[in-house]
């Protein structure tokens, strides 16, 4: 009996490791930018192309930067949640319109609603690279000092919003 205990123990450990490994999403790569200042940029706005926006305009505020595009399918999934969040007024959402056509983007916002305080245009995806964007949609929580505190990779779900993003935002707004 005793001689089976060790192999059984090893087997159980192996199963535990595999179970953890298989339940993790390999697409979620932890961002090295969390805890670092949000990279600076200055980009034209989507609606008023002559006006610019830079993250430093929002010093002293907690805000969300949501990377979206009209061609992005999962963005449709999270969009109603963002629209609701915008209505609640808990935290302002700024949109980074990533590698999109202006006309398509505007049409998309008319069709599905516009939750953004304003959207900025990153037509070539350069700011996206600075923010380590690799799968749209992505959402950053940025604090009063302009530091990235959290990054949601993939669509914002109701669960992620209630359990992670909103509690963090409340904490940061204090």
């Amino acid at each position: 009996m005793n001689r089976f205990l060790l192999p059984l123990g090893i087997f159980i450990v192996l199963v535990a490791f595999l179970a953890i490994g298989l339940n993790r999403d390999p697409r979620e790569v932890p961002s090295p930018l969390v805890g670092k200042p949000a990279p600076a940029f200055e980009l034209p706005q989507l609606h008023r192309t002559e006006a610019k926006f830079a993250p430093k305009d929002l010093q002293g505020k907690v805000w969300l930067l949501n990377v979206w595009a009209s061609w992005c399918v999962s963005c449709r999934q999270e969009h109603p949640i963002l629209v609701e969040l915008a209505k609640s007024g808990l935290v302002p959402i700024y949109g980074l319109n990533y590698k999109d056509q202006r006309a398509d983007a505007l049409k998309w916002l008319r069709q599905f609603g516009d939750p953004y305080a304003l959207s900025i245009v990153d037509a070539e995806g350069r700011v996206g690279i600075d923010y380590g964007v690799y799968g749209v949609p992505e959402t950053y929580v940025i604090d009063k000092a302009g530091v990235i505190r959290y990054k949601q990779i993939g669509p914002v779900t109701q669960d992620a919003l209630e359990k992670t993003i909103l509690p963090l935002v409340k904490e940061l707004q204090k």
């Binding site: 390999p26 697409r27 790569v29 932890p30 961002s31 090295p32 930018l33 590698k99 070539e124 995806g125 350069r126 996206g128 690279i129 600075d130 923010y131 380590g132 964007v133 690799y134 799968g135």
Partner: protein
């Protein structure tokens, strides 16, 4: 005949694919070569098991453009790798640097190998001991022979 047409269509499709991919390569051979060497060291985050050099994802194309431009600005390979790691983490490197968080990644397989060899040695030693314990002394041998003889006699 139909097969031939099918083969030709496939061939045409292939050559078209290559023609499109090859377009940006022709500009500056030295830069291209360095760009490919660097991007082969980097993982494409969109299709994670492809290198940045091999991937056709949109992001990979942008990042190759970025590498090309940084080479043009005279940055070293190390600068460019640091640029990528600063944005996407150690995960983008196929050969991540050796440090606390990557220790298991680098040495885990060797630790497992050592544990396996140790287990094998222990098991083999135990088995060896069991085999030597079965040799009989002269007295035991005599007794065994007697018992065997008895068993022989009992046979009908």
């Amino acid at each position: 005949m139909r097969r031939l047409v099918f083969a030709l269509v496939c061939l045409a499709a292939f050559s078209l694919g290559f023609a499109r991919e090859a377009a940006p390569l022709a500009q500056d051979e030295a830069v291209e070569k360095r760009m490919v060497t660097i991007s082969e060291e980097l993982r494409c985050l969109v299709c994670q098991n492809e290198s940045l050099a091999a991937s056709r994802a949109d992001l990979a194309q942008d990042l190759r453009r970025e590498i090309r431009e940084q080479i043009g600005q005279g940055k070293s390979d190390k600068d460019i790798l640091e640029f990528m790691v600063g944005r996407y983490g150690d995960f983008v490197r196929y050969r991540p640097p050796l440090k606390g968080t990557t220790f298991l990644l680098w040495f885990g397989p060797f630790l497992l190998l050592v544990a396996g060899v140790a287990a094998l040695v222990i098991v083999l030693r135990r088995r060896g001991r069991r085999v030597t314990a079965t040799t009989l002394s002269a007295e035991e041998q005599k007794k065994a022979d007697e018992l065997l003889q008895l068993a022989e006699n009992d046979k009908p």
